[in-house]
Symmetry: D2
């Protein structure tokens, strides 16, 4: 709980994020230009960061949603799928590379115990085996928390972002550690529902779709609603609905913007035929050069551009009026 | 050529049909209430009947389009697919049963030669084998023409509709002859393009779709445009485009009316993705009790009623406005 | 009826065809090398030609099955779909160009009446309008029959194959007449069921498939049985089953040979899921250079070659044995 | 590392599981009849439990794979998808209900601090809010570990299985705590590859499928390989391949056994068309009454039973031999 009286006035300029300070999430947040003029408030968990937005205590929250090594961040997926609706307005892609943080003066051969977030462990496992085969690993609540525990002397070294060193008075002994090539985490900036971010030509649309229980081909039909309109899927992840084993909803990202006709028609198709659909926002894809955004349209399947949709609607009207 | 000067004034009350008089087409035309107040003009061929409409010499033409034994009437399918556009406003279903027409006084044992349209022959083959195994068959240009030739003494008997007997001064010696159970012919009333017939709740929509040449899965995609919107196909027939072996267009009938949202969206899907689509009309299905027309809606797949489409469009607008 | 006693001995070397002499069918038949050593017997109709084979009075029959302008030859499609089974072993493609045959000495300006098979008429309509706008057309039972009637003086000119001139003592006044570019007719050589023609690498497989009555998506599923195995459709034609309006079976040609694994699996899929399937043969595609036959394999979709099928079967066996 | 010399002899009777003692995994393992005669060895992690099997130090490992509230257990999914192959031979479904374990004598009003595995927290959140709104939650490494920490006095109460009370000298103060109805965890027993478990008529088949990178419709095609053979999907979960954002493989369970023809053909279809497929086993579905196993066959789609496959293969052979 951040808020108390008087604070609500300031909530419009406040962004929460998955804390503590010194995490990759904070680093991702600081890549946003507007972060410089916002009050950035670390929260103890993804639900806490998002609930502050729901409660009107913050304008938006930055939380991790997907990691190229570990997969979907289920707390984020589930929080966005349920409860009071939120919407995604931005995404941030951050390359994930770890530094081994130590108290000043520590040498590699002195490191007997290491710590880090459980999610970090599989991403540095090979490096550990090669360089510190005898060091004992213990998990900490976050990478930043691990750094704090090193500061306090509980462990010899912590895996964390290099940027966390200064915050915790540590030194990066080794940098750029990552077992997987191209490891990245994707973060989303979520706020209360409002008009989606403007279309840029290289956008992503997120939604959650619940399928009917009794229908073996329901997932196939979900995909066909996209395929029938030439809309490419970028990500699909099943999540339990909590109603019992074998019941799932699907967290889905597709290419394009809700104001693209092909995307709009696909979404309406899902809305008509699935028990429940939650729209989570359309927003610019990260990692696309601004000058190339319109170029991304080159991948649109023939017959599915806005122009094709408008021409077809005109033709239909002509047919209905007997002028075709 | 019917028209000459002065006639054009009367063309609005003139219907052409595939003649000559006494054919099943005339019998089908006379089942239409308005036929009583129209000038009914037999034409020598399907193209002639339709060209009279195109030339403004008649308001509409009734022509056969499909027979439950012989299949599609290719002259009609091809005439509607090409040339100046026409549209279908009505269909008529006529049970096909033949009478054996003879000159008065002829007995069955006197019948040594029989005639009829080539299309009639396979529909009476079994009856002939059973009752007139030694009679010789020769084809005539139409059933009615066969009756005329019997009148003139060239053959002993003709297969034709019982209603043709009076016209040609003959007697029906045997009636209700038909090898196949439920043999029917479907006729369509075609006019110049105008607003389609009003929706009744039990309608049929006809179109012609050309597929891209180079795409093996193109027919599958055509069908999926219908399936994705829950629109049932009633008939599909391939026709050569005339551009060489292996190039086809498809004459298609689906359930529903062009003003049904699901049908409209399917048609727009075809328009967007196929090189060419010709809309041939939406019109009431024959053979449906007027009181049951709305009941036919019971077969609509969940999520594809007009109500579902409108609700989904509302939802999309809400999402785009940030109010979902 | 050809056969009488003593003839059966010779039936193994007899081929029937759709007569009379001088038709395109005869010309097509004579392109087959073995025709030189067969007795070629013209028959009055497609059913008659095929029934002679069924009755053991001929080894095979050549009949037209498809014309690039007029479409499927329904008599052939229906005869092969029903009755005692027959199989196709060869196909012949014949370019269709007409000659205007006249009695020696006739000049173009003398031609007031022309005749020909009804199917020929739409293929020469434009030529007639341009060169003989005032000539009256009357149909004859076949192109060859029309030539005979010109010989007898009933008409001034007949459209027929140039090769028919000598047979009927006429002269080709104009040759190479054809409104459509690339007009072709496809003929098939049908015999009693036996081992299919050997695989060549560029083959065609023909079948007839009946769909369940009550299933709107049945045609889509038929196509998916092919698509799921990467088998391209070459032709699909709906034909009424004779059981009433709206009931169809489908005459289908696909690329490949029944011994190609992908074709075999698709056929088994149809056999399992459709009420009735009739295999009509696998045979070399006409119009493919013998040296290019294996090259046609280039169009096989990845994962659907025989090699892929065999490798997958091996893998499955390994999995079932616990060795994968 | 369990093994040392001499132990390998006993490895055939040793089962590892995700420890420590007192977890739900141990409770699940003890539901297996053969557990009574096995040495049950708790391991520190899922990878450790499975690696012991790979190393030959244990015959099998029981690990959680899916929870109806929290979703897939990614450590298990990823371990089975990569590294030296393992296979699943059994599954166990365990209802998940927590007990609040305390030191003897503790009353509910005395509980100020509670602990448990992070996964337990969302499953008891509502209960906590209702009954212990002021208690502070801290996560522990496992539910059993939390119980140990209560024993040591670090926390007042731990959420764990009721069965863990005795092990740790605690008392269940409240039992049967679960926010979600029907919460269940599914566990799998994995061993080295061998012949799959025998078919029972109510089976599940697990596999991992990698899709081609460059193909937007690849997931749709994966599903169609199942749908084309009437095989129902039970679970599908995307997992990153580790090769970068946007690259996924799919962990899939379908109904049926690898020796069911429809399943075998679907698997071969995947093998042919996907870059990589790993078969993870066919095994009896848990939670099905043994007497009802054959009854589960009632859900097989017409045309996809083994009988249908065999009949179709016979028909194909007849066609290929000219006997159809």
């Amino acid at each position: 709980m951040i808020g108390s009286e008087g604070q609500r006035v300031r909530s419009a300029t406040r962004y929460t994020y998955l804390g503590p300070e010194g995490t990759f999430t904070e680093a991702a947040l600081r890549t946003l230009p507007e972060a410089a003029t916002r009050e950035l408030v670390p929260m103890v968990s993804v639900p806490a960061a998002l609930d502050a937005v729901r409660a009107g205590e913050a304008a938006a929250a930055l939380v991790p949603i997907e990691n190229s090594v570990e997969g979907g961040v289920t707390a984020t997926l589930d929080e966005l799928a349920t409860g009071e609706p939120l919407m995604i307005y931005r995404e941030v892609l951050l390359p994930i590379a770890f530094a081994l943080l130590v108290r000043p003066g520590t040498r590699l051969e002195d490191v007997k115990t290491v710590t880090g977030h459980p999610v970090a462990q599989p991403q540095v496992r090979n490096w550990l085996a090669a360089h510190l085969p005898d060091a004992a690993w213990e998990s900490s609540a976050s990478n930043a928390d691990g750094a704090r525990l090193v500061r306090e002397g509980r462990y010899d070294a912590a895996f964390a972002g290099e940027f966390a060193a200064a915050t915790y008075g540590l030194e990066p002994l080794v940098t750029d550690i990552h077992d997987a090539q191209n490891a990245q985490t994707r973060f989303v900036l979520a706020g209360r529902p409002a008009r989606p971010a403007a279309r840029t030509g290289a956008d992503r649309t997120s939604l959650v779709v619940w399928l009917g229980d009794d229908h073996p081909g329901a997932l196939l039909e979900l995909l066909q609603e996209f395929a029938a309109r030439g809309v490419n899927l970028m990500r699909i992840e099943s999540r339990p609905t909590g109603e019992g084993m074998g019941r799932y909803c699907f967290s889905v990202d597709c290419e394009g913007h809700i104001t693209d006709r092909r995307v709009g028609e696909a979404l309406m198709g899902l809305k008509r035929t699935c028990p429940k659909v939650r729209f989570l926002g359309s927003y610019p894809r990260a990692g696309v050069d601004p000058d190339d955004r319109s170029g991304a349209l080159g991948t649109v399947r023939p017959g599915t551009s806005d122009r094709d949709f408008v021409a077809a609607a005109d033709w239909l009207a002509h047919c209905q009026d007997g002028r075709a």
